[in-house]
Symmetry: C2
Subunit: 229 residues, 2 copies
């Protein structure tokens, strides 16, 4: 039987959470948590999530539906009335794909589960580089949330939020993933399509540029592979 | 057309959120939010929620299912394997009815909705007196959560958490509700039953004692009315 401590990982099925899982698995047994929130590519993300959980031999697995986020709306990720905008990588305003307070909703679920499992940590693959516009991808946000955990859980509960790739560039994330043998071929990042990545949404553009700068071929299929580097 | 600002109220169907709504409605138009989380008395609470939303002429109404909290378990409120313990009013440990990090899950939903509605405030009927054991009923928790809202939402978003009855005793809440004409006869507090309140669970005991100390008859039916005052 394993004697390693347990960590909950917020696993979207994307590259960032896959590399984060690879980092976490060096020290922890992993409880894989996936949140569906009515995003367009929900089915494809679930496949990638399960493939990653299998790869890392997840000790626990939980899929939670947060339909209310699409009911509440306000994002191109969940609201069909919003077009998915093409990537503007140096944009400084909040992109249309921002889902209001999404990460706090996800963290709240993760903390409830972690408290019951007596996990020591929650791993999140947030990346500050992506947060030109996403306010809830910055370490400042996770620091504030840790304080909420401190005061809002049982006195015996002690859960940290680990964001090991938050200050990395996408290029560095690719290189770290390759170095750790993370299963990047199993991941999915596109916000638009489910079978062949579009190559032009925010998420595809950031990912492709990362692989291009790292000099590593991205192993998943793309409809277009614009040069972003 | 109304020109009053909008506030989201977390409305359980209980007495505390009803009195909080009465306070909030003096200044705000109200968006009524109810969270189902697999609690035993879910159906009865929904009836009380809708009755209160009707009474206060809610500008918006949203019911969200958070089934994951019962899936995650760990509480007598949502887990049939846990017995609902009889009230021990001067208990200092966390009661079995504590749902891990429940209020943070609820607040996260409320903030997502408030951000889309451009509401100025979220009203919560938390009461510190109840929190002999509930860590997420203390103002310290809401202060920490406000900081998360500050850093985790769009720069243009500015949402406060109002907890106007947090330092009141149940007796004072009853008296305030009566003074404001809050529809206390429409509320439901029992954790155990749906038609006739049990009178002996934590929530019934706190409520009954409040009415008894206030010298006001509680207008809802009870199977037992122990004297707690």
């Amino acid at each position: 039987m394993s004697k390693r401590p347990l960590a909950v990982i917020l696993a979207s099925g994307g590259m960032d959470s896959c590399v984060t899982a690879a980092i976490a698995s060096q020290e922890f047994d992993l409880a894989f948590l996936h949140l569906n929130y009515g995003q367009r590519t929900e089915g494809r993300e679930m496949r990638a999530f399960n493939a990653a959980a299998d790869h890392f031999r997840a000790a626990h697995r939980l899929v939670v539906s947060m339909d209310h986020l699409s009911k509440i709306g306000g994002s191109s990720l969940t609201d069909a009335a919003f077009p998915v905008t093409k990537a503007v990588l140096h944009n400084t305003s909040v992109p249309t794909s921002y889902v209001p307070f999404r990460n706090a909703n996800m963290l709240a679920v993760a903390v409830s589960w972690a408290e019951v499992l007596e996990a020591a940590s929650i791993f999140v693959g947030a990346v500050q580089e992506d947060s030109s516009g996403y306010p809830d991808c910055r370490r400042e946000f996770y620091d504030a949330f840790e304080k909420v955990i401190d005061v809002g859980t049982k006195p015996s509960t002690n859960i940290k939020i680990s964001t090991p790739i938050i200050h990395l560039t996408k290029m560095e994330i690719v290189l770290r993933g390759v170095a750790l043998g993370a299963p990047l071929h199993l991941t999915w990042s596109c916000y638009q399509n489910e079978e062949v990545a579009c190559g032009v949404c925010d998420s595809c553009a950031l990912r492709l540029r990362g692989f291009q700068l790292a000099g590593v071929p991205d192993p998943i299929p793309y409809a277009h592979r614009p040069v972003y580097a």
